[in-house]
């Protein structure tokens, strides 16, 4: 049954599993799920001790939003690694064929440049997105919001830009590399520097916590935006361009 894990690209609907097997899988999963459900519902939830702890320590965290406090201070290690996950995918999807000197360059395809509606829309949309992104980033300290949300909005602006096909993105350029790695790099740097002060890695001095978190968040936002944009453009371009850029060795 697990042999079927090999992906197919041809038929979108068919399952290669025979009907009997499918029924079997379904019943096993149903049974397992039911048991799980039963076990879950019959067991009480643990008292929210951790939530209490968070709210107790919130004052020393440098932010007021408990979720941001958890993400960027109490469990900042997780977030650091999460950015690393994104970076991994970005690296994996990097092209390497040609050297691209700049991150953004005017496209040779100028067809869309003449499209007046598109041009004017973008002129409004992109600054707005940057503004919204900045707001989300800032507000993360007090209310829902934060680096990922801000990065996503910024990336969306980039996606819009990319969709016009007026610009080419040089993801292999040195600038792009700096951009995508900045979040992780600054996060680590902050952790080390603060660690030198406090004696523990990622332990922010209480007085500087807010500032440091903001620095980390800004860097993270930039990198997340860049990475998300890269993911989009690479997937979109790969669909049309020759796959030789995929990195086949031979």
């Amino acid at each position: 049954m697990f042999r079927e894990m090999s992906p197919s690209f041809t038929d979108t609907h068919a399952s290669t599993l025979p009907r009997v097997a499918r029924v079997l899988v379904a019943s096993v999963i149903t049974a397992g799920g039911a048991a799980l459900l039963l076990a879950t519902l019959r067991t009480d939830k643990a008292p929210p001790e951790l939530a209490v702890l968070v709210s107790e320590q919130l004052a020393t965290s440098g932010v007021e939003n408990p979720v941001t406090a958890v993400l960027l201070n109490f469990r900042s290690y997780d977030t650091l690694l999460e950015i690393a996950v994104l970076l991994i995918v970005a690296i994996a999807m990097q092209p390497h064929a040609s050297s691209q000197p700049r991150i953004v360059a005017p496209s040779t395809n100028n067809e869309s440049a003449t499209n007046l509606v598109l041009t004017s829309l973008l002129r409004w949309l992109i600054p707005l997105s940057v503004l919204v992104g900045g707001y989300l980033l800032w507000t993360g300290a007090y209310a829902p919001g934060g680096a990922f949300q801000a990065g996503a909005v910024l990336a969306a602006a980039g996606v819009a830009l990319a969709l016009t096909e007026r610009y080419q993105f040089g993801w292999q350029s040195a600038g792009a590399q700096w951009l995508i790695s900045a979040g992780l790099a600054i996060f680590i740097a902050t952790g080390i520097v603060s660690g030198m002060v406090t004696g523990t890695f990622l332990q922010y001095p209480v007085t500087y916590a807010a500032t440091l978190i903001l620095v980390v968040e800004i860097a993270a936002t930039v990198s997340i935006a860049a990475i998300l944009l890269q993911l989009f453009t690479r997937l979109a371009r790969a669909d049309v361009t020759s796959p030789h850029t995929s990195g086949a060795s031979s």
Partner: protein
Amino acid sequence: MTPDIIYSGAGMVVFAMGLYGVIASAHILRKLVAINIMGIGVFMLLIATAHHDTLIDPVPHAMVLTGIVVAVAGTALCLWLAVVIRGLEHDAASHPSQ
């Protein structure tokens, strides 16, 4: 209590459906979507867990946020590989001698 039961239960059901989808469907996109559905199921459970009568536990929220980013990353990588493979197959088809 009731919303908790609904959310948790629904999360698990979604997870199970996703699991079935991963196993039973053949196409890569379907599998990917199914995996994301599984993820959503887990996130629902986590969010339900975060809900307490007196206060909201921020830790599961943070977990969900992190989980989403990770899921995005994983999905993107899978899609990318699928695209590459398709390109390679296309190449092989156009140059059958190699």
